[in-house]
């Protein structure tokens, strides 16, 4: 890997041979937001899918601290060739990882990383939600130089990922479609830009809008149906660590044919709703409680109901405009 330690080293087709070699030896270290992950896999199909959806991600230098380690390999020599099955291994005694068909190896990696972040990153208060942010104009208008974020929470299937994807490719910077990472001291959100996992109908909708090049190959017959990963926009990877202030919290609800509706709420209801979106509130205790209380005071909360992605994106744009 050499000893180069410059942030402009990224995973790209031009160094794919090196990346594959690093993956094979379990030496590939790359950056996702505030984390460095070290990945090992000798499974060629997974290496290929990894190169595809992590194209553009910054490589970490030898001196960066690795918080997450993950290996994904066939469960046995037999299963490497015959009806291949792979399994993620992070070295934990109690992990929920299950063997997956070889074709779905990238899911094992994605779930393996997300599980580690969700269970072992209590430096952040984590919300199960999508996040995008608006970066300040270069001229430095508005609140001087601060990026401003919107957090999209709600039950899975309500449309978070699709809305996050739509906004991330339409003027907003992708923070995450999975986890919002809040620093409880500064109350700033940190980016965790990962490939966005889109399922079933959302896939067709977004492929039509963004073109197939922005996507991984389709993964059929996963536990959640058909999945395609939408690659993180290059801009969201380059801006790397820059955090954002949370201004807006929305609970989107997509429904075919429903009348559009934007309903604001606040106070105890906002607290309860935001609390229910947390992943590790119990583990942080008082720090989490205080942080949520502060957010309830400083942010505005809305329920959105819509029947098209364009409508939802317009709603979020408008709300952010007004919240400014």
């Amino acid at each position: 890997m050499g000893s180069v330690n410059t942030p402009d080293r990224i995973i790209s087709p031009s160094n794919s041979a090196q990346t594959r070699r690093a993956l094979s030896c379990g030496e590939l270290k790359f950056r996702v937001g505030p984390f460095v992950a070290r990945i090992g896999t000798g499974y060629p199909l997974l290496q290929q899918d990894f190169l595809d959806i992590y194209d553009g991600y910054p490589l970490a230098g030898p001196d960066d601290f690795v918080q997450f380690n993950l290996k994904v390999d066939p469960v046995s020599l037999l299963r490497r060739w015959y009806r291949p099955k792979v399994m993620a291994d992070g070295g934990f005694v109690n992990s929920p990882f299950v063997p997956l068909p070889g074709d779905l190896a990238i899911l094992a990696l994605e779930m393996g990383l997300n599980w580690q972040v969700g269970t072992k990153s209590d430096q952040f208060l984590i919300f199960h939600s999508g996040v995008v942010a608006r970066d300040p104009e270069p001229a430095g208008q508005g609140e001087a130089g601060i990026s401003r974020a919107v957090l999209m929470a709600g039950q899975s299937g309500a449309g978070k990922s699709t809305l996050t994807a739509g906004l991330a490719y339409n003027g907003w910077r992708l923070f995450s479609d999975e986890f919002a990472l809040l620093d409880t001291d500064s109350l700033m959100l940190y980016p965790y830009p990962r490939p966005i996992s889109l399922k079933n109908e959302s896939v067709d909708l977004m492929v039509e809008r963004l073109g197939a090049d922005a996507f991984s190959r389709p993964f059929l017959n996963t536990p959640k149906g058909t999945i395609r990963y939408l690659k993180a926009p290059a801009g969201s990877l380059i801006s790397g660590l820059r955090p954002a202030k949370l201004d807006l919290v929305v609970f989107p609800q997509y429904g075919p044919g429903v009348p559009p509706q934007v309903a604001e709420f606040a106070g105890a209801e906002a607290f309860a709703m935001l609390r229910s979106a947390t992943v590790n509130c119990d583990r942080l205790g008082l720090d989490a409680f205080n942080a949520i209380a502060d957010l309830v005071e400083h942010c505005r909360f809305f329920r959105l109901q819509y029947d098209s992605l364009d409508m939802a994106m317009q709603m979020v744009d408008d709300l952010m405009e007004k919240t400014a």
């Binding site: 230098g61 030898p62 601290f65 380690n69 290996k71 992070g90 209590d122 430096q123 205790g285």
Partner: protein
């Protein structure tokens, strides 16, 4: 004898030099510390020493995460002791806290950042049934019910052969309690009478409301219980945290008048000389426990034959060292397997062991076939 990885040892004993380590060095060492269950302790020690401020943000984040885990675990532990006391206080019996809860109550240094997965208590054998029904009436359930297993064999195994009740789980809080009546299974080569331990147990010396009224084992027994758990009853593999507990207890108790004589006598009396011998040997070699020469000399008679000791010296350090994910660990796995078999050998007579492992294997086979 092979020692622990040097950086892991540094983190456990005095992590201050680690503030100057490179990210690469930290990545490896923190992984091992996490696997050994001591990363919270490292985070707290570095904070206490004022060494966390200049660390790389990613590393500081990881340590903060570990620290928060430790703090939360202690809060849960205290709360659980409070809840259990409410259920059992009317029974007017001696309830002795064991392991993590006891270290917290007795203020043993290893309590900082120590993660306990469950709470362990010891009561007199004839109180078992009463304690069990009181807990079952107050929101605890048998853990196997929760898992929906047909745990009949397990249940029977516990009740007939073990030194504790089957684990119980609080239905709402999800916390687990193990109720012991002694510290070793009555089937093993070595057994210890719970009555004798209860006799010497001491009231907790603390003003904390949740601890008031509880007892802890006396110093020698507290150490011996941990020792037994690691070297007699448990499987050693993955038990580095237990050895750290023992090191801290040794350091904490060493200065008490007559401690070493009492320890040796007590081990002899309870028939726990051999495991104590191993503890003193490995805690001092691997973790620099301050064991005086006189104690080594006195414990010498508990030691195994030269060839067994040579074998243990090869196996134990390997089995205690956590595996790094990106390194091959065939030797460590083999050592772990051998010590696992040893632990069962010590736990029950040969025929019973054969039957037990047979039933376990049969069930595993059944599970594989239906999967």
């Amino acid at each position: 004898m092979k020692g622990l990885p040097a950086d892991l040892k540094t983190l456990i004993l005095d992590p201050r030099p680690a503030a100057a380590w490179s990210g690469e060095r930290w990545s490896h060492a923190a992984y091992l510390a996490q696997s050994a269950g001591v990363l919270c302790r490292v985070a707290i020690d570095l904070k206490t020493a004022g060494c966390r401020a200049g660390l790389e943000p990613g590393l500081e984040g990881c340590l903060l995460s570990a620290e928060r885990n430790g703090v939360r675990n202690q809060t849960l532990l205290s709360w659980e002791m409070d809840r259990i006391k409410r259920v059992l206080r009317d029974r007017d019996i001696k309830i002795v806290l064991l392991k993590g809860a006891a270290y917290l109550a007795a203020g043993i240094p290893c309590t900082r950042g120590r993660l306990s997965s469950d709470i362990d208590i010891l009561v007199a054998k004839d109180e078992l049934a009463g304690v069990e029904s009181a807990l079952l009436n107050a929101g605890w359930i048998l853990a196997k019910e929760k898992q929906g297993e047909s745990g009949d064999y397990d249940d029977l195994y516990y009740r007939r052969w073990m030194h504790e009740l089957p684990p119980m789980l609080h239905e709402e809080r999800g916390t687990v309690i193990d109720v012991h009546h002694t510290i070793l299974p009555p089937t093993g080569r070595v057994t210890a009478e719970g009555r004798e331990l209860l006799e010497l147990a001491e009231p907790v010396d603390s003003q904390a409301q949740e601890l008031e009224g509880y007892f802890v084992l006396c110093d020698t027994d507290m150490l011996l219980h941990s020792v037994v758990h690691l070297f007699q009853d448990g499987e050693i593999r993955g038990g580095l945290r237990d050895l750290v507990d023992q090191r801290d207890m040794i350091a904490h108790f060493a200065g008490r008048p007559g401690f070493w004589d009492r320890l040796i006598d007590r081990a002899e009396h309870l028939g726990l000389g051999r495991p104590l011998f191993y503890c003193l040997r490995y805690a001092s070699v691997l973790l620099d426990a301050p064991v005086p020469e006189s104690a080594f000399t006195a414990a010498k008679r508990f030691g195994p034959s030269g060839s067994v000791l040579m074998l243990m010296d090869r196996l134990v350090p390997r089995a205690l060292t956590p595996n790094y994910l990106f390194e091959s660990h065939r030797a460590a796995n083999l050592a772990g397997e051998l010590l696992y078999i040893r632990s069962h050998w010590l736990r029950m007579p040969p025929l019973m062991l054969a039957r037990h492992l047979g039933i376990k294997a049969w069930r595993r086979l059944g599970a594989t076939m239906t999967a």
